[in-house]
Amino acid sequence: GDSVTQTEGLVTLTEGLPVMLNCTYQTIYSNAFLFWYVHYLNESPWLLLRSSTDNKRTEHQGFHATLHKSSSSFHLQKSSAQLSDSALYYCALSDNSGTYQRFGTGTKLQVVP
């Protein structure tokens, strides 16, 4: 069945350094939609980014990601990490076979001064 893999459980970065959080997925369906949700402590998870068409970059709030169907990836990037970026980041997948989104295990991003 479908799956989402986030290999890093914890990423610790110094403020100002670039961010890259990995997300790969598996699905047998050609129509895959990928999402990045961010979850700050004691708040609700919310949508940060949603994939567009293959090889097209999407951006929001300084973050960007590009869906690459050839490598089944949707990595989250940011050029310069800020202390306020410290949160849990979930990658999620949906396809046209079902009615819900499947989440990865999440990556905790910790940005330190």
Binding site: F33, Y37, S44, P45, R50, S94, F103, T105, G106
Partner: protein, 116 residues
């Protein structure tokens, strides 16, 4: 932005008792979801609900679980009876219902359920 409210934020209950988790979804949304997150693990889909009916449920949605949204009020998840392995954070989410699984999910902040 649109808010999903979950009541209560924490619930402690003895094993075998019944518990109801309440969710107030975004007002014009038509699709509702419950996800379960055991400490340290990923959010896992339990069930979704549309037009008064369960659309899809996962293997985690045991017979002791039920959902309903009577008369447009709270969207509820009821567990009867509870078991120790039901201890988790339960997230409610809603979406507009126009694009099904490709839509943005709006989440509540979760209910932490502890079964003793």
């Amino acid at each position: 932005g649109p808010k999903v409210l979950q009541i209560p934020s924490h619930q402690i209950i003895d094993m075998g008792q019944m518990v109801t988790l309440n969710c107030d979804p975004v007002s014009n949304h038509l699709y509702f979801y419950w996800y379960k997150q055991i400490l340290g693990q990923q959010m896992e889909f339990l069930v979704n609900f549309y037009n008064g009916k369960v659309m899809e449920k996962s293997k985690l949605f045991k017979d002791q679980f039920s959902v309903e949204r009577p008369d447009g009020s709270y969207f509820t998840l009821k567990i009867q009876p509870t078991a120790l392995e039901d201890s988790a954070v339960y997230f409610c989410a809603s979406s507009t219902g126009t694009g099904m699984s490709a839509e943005t999910l709006y989440f509540g902040s979760g209910t932490r359920l502890t079964v003793l």
